[in-house]
């Protein structure tokens, strides 16, 4: 079963320096790949780089900025293949940003 782990955190809220955080993410990455759980994942550029688009009456309307202006922003994601929610939640809890941000876990909808 596939789950998407969405990583939300305040962009200036890292509890350690960037180098340490990168090392922690590298270690997590290695672990989740070795376990055969990793199906994909990326870090995103800061929310300041976001452009939102809507199509209204055939016109595309662009807005400079993310979908919602909140303190905690989407900063990255992992796509995880787990047996059940408990397993997905335990992998999500290990994501380094979970210590100070929030990781939202959502099952991927299947249409077969």
């Amino acid at each position: 079963m596939l789950f998407l782990a969405l990583i939300y955190s305040a962009e200036d809220a890292d509890d350690v320096d960037v180098q340490t955080l990168m090392a922690q993410y590298q270690a997590y990455d290695d672990e989740v790949r070795a376990a055969g759980v990793f199906q994909g994942g990326n870090a995103l550029q800061a929310a300041a780089t976001a452009t939102s688009v809507q199509l209204r009456a055939g016109e595309s309307i662009l807005t400079d900025g993310p979908f919602a202006e909140t303190k905690e922003q989407l900063g990255g994601y992992y796509l995880l293949d787990c047996a059940d929610l408990d397993e997905a939640l335990s992998w999500a809890a290990k994501i380094p940003s979970a210590r100070y941000g929030t990781v939202e876990v959502r099952p991927i909808m299947s249409f077969d």
Binding site: M1, F3, C82, A83, D84, L85, D86, A88, L89, P107, M109, S110, D112
Partner: protein
């Protein structure tokens, strides 16, 4: 028929859920079976094993429903169900036994991915077989709110990947607390009945005790035993909590001859055997405190030093301001009100909305002869009290201050 539903529906749902994770569909199938029973049993006579009859009919109806829904996402489920049904159909119906899968269902209903109110409602509905009306009445919430809560939770169970299994090892250690918390919350809801005119709502306590026994029977862990002992020790004393003339009697003034001594003794022995396992936990400690109260001949002869020690141990595992308050009150019986006042005072902010804090503060201030402070605390306690019997008692205490 209603009695059979209460007793057996949880078991049947638990087995059917093993094969179909759509809770609403399972409930509908069981409902079909009961409707059929209501039509057939009075005319044709009751089957030898009503539960097995209901189970096999519900299963048949579940297959029909799954087929009708052409459950796109679960074609394998229909196939598996049909196979298991054919296999069972070869047996004479009265020999069918229902495997007890309720532990799975309990862990599923009390999954921490569901909100606690949803866990409580689901448990009462699916395990205890209570109707939505009964649950709504017990928790003073509207049908709408409850149904929304239930629908959302059932949907999450069927789509969020909540496993239908009893967790093992470390996962069990992580998940057990939420199951125990739901059962204890049910019991407390009844025992302390914070709102409304009655101090106890006995039926909810009965359900909590029934669940506690079921959990212990299915999963005899030290904390499940601790919770069961704790609830039984409280319940054995409930007759002392009110009388014909007084709707609320505090522990200190209760007529201890009205307590169920035999039940207390039995629960204590059960608790002591559990404590010997040396796997301490918050429910065992609270049960041990309750046992000290229950076995004392009077409020004055309670071993307060040991009660205070147990609260200190509890605080290590459960560092909440409420536990700190109880520790404080227990210590006041050993060290005196003067000695614990600073600690009590330091809790004022965190427990500003907690009614028992003001009741305790009032009593301690009264002991210290600080009538002004005592009166203010009684008034605040009355303001915060949602239980009529309790606030009437506090009014009485407030009036007696002047005398």
């Amino acid at each position: 028929m209603a009695r059979i539903y209460r007793a057996e529906s949880g078991k049947i749902i638990a087995v059917l859920m093993h094969q179909c994770r759509n809770v609403a569909t399972v409930e509908d199938a069981l409902q079909d079976a009961f409707v059929q029973a209501c039509q057939q049993w009075p005319a044709r006579g009751w089957p030898d094993k009503p539960a097995a009859w209901l189970h096999s009919v519900a299963k048949r109806r579940l297959i029909d429903r799954l087929r009708a829904e052409r459950l796109r996402q679960e074609p394998a489920t229909v196939q598996a169900l049909e196979q298991s049904y054919q296999w069972r159909y070869a047996e004479p119906e009265q020999q069918l036994s229902i495997p007890d899968d309720r532990l799975r269902l309990i862990f599923c209903c009390c999954h921490p991915a569901l909100s606690q109110p949803a866990q409580v409602a689901l448990t009462l509905k699916l395990i205890c077989g209570l109707s939505s009306v009964e649950i709504g009445r017990a928790f003073l919430i509207s049908d709408d709110t409850l149904n929304r809560r239930l629908t959302r939770a059932k949907q999450k169970i069927s789509t969020a990947g909540i496993a239908y299994q009893v967790p093992e090892g470390e996962a069990l250690v992580r998940r057990l607390p939420s199951v125990l918390a739901v059962i204890y919350l049910l019991f407390n809801e009844s025992y302390h009945a914070c709102e409304g005119p009655d101090l106890t709502r006995a039926d909810l306590a009965d359900e909590a005790l029934r669940l506690g026994r079921l959990l212990y029977q299915l999963q005899p862990s030290a904390e499940a035993a601790g919770l069961l002992a704790l609830m039984e020790l409280h319940w054995a004393r409930h007759a002392g909590r009110s009388s014909d003339d007084e709707a609320y009697i505090p522990l200190a003034a209760q007529d201890r001859s009205r307590w169920d001594r035999a039940a207390i003794e039995q629960s204590c022995q059960f608790l002591y055997r559990t404590l010997e396992l040396k796997q301490p936990g918050i429910y065992q400690i609270q049960a041990a405190i309750s046992a000290l109260h229950a076995r004392a001949d009077s409020f004055e002869t309670v071993d307060w030093a040991q009660v205070a020690g147990l609260y200190a141990a509890l605080y290590q595992l459960l560092p909440t301001p409420v536990v700190a308050l109880n520790h404080c009150v227990a210590r006041s019986h050993v060290a005196g009100a003067e000695d614990v006042w600073p600690q009590l005072d330091s809790l004022a902010q965190t427990l500003a909305e907690y009614q028992p804090y003001y009741a305790a503060r009032a009593d301690l201030a009264r002991q210290l002869g600080r009538c002004g402070q005592a009166a203010a605390a009684y008034r605040r306690a009355i303001e915060l009290s949602k239980n009529e019997a309790q606030s009437a008692y506090l009014e009485q205490r407030l009036e007696s201050l002047g005398r």
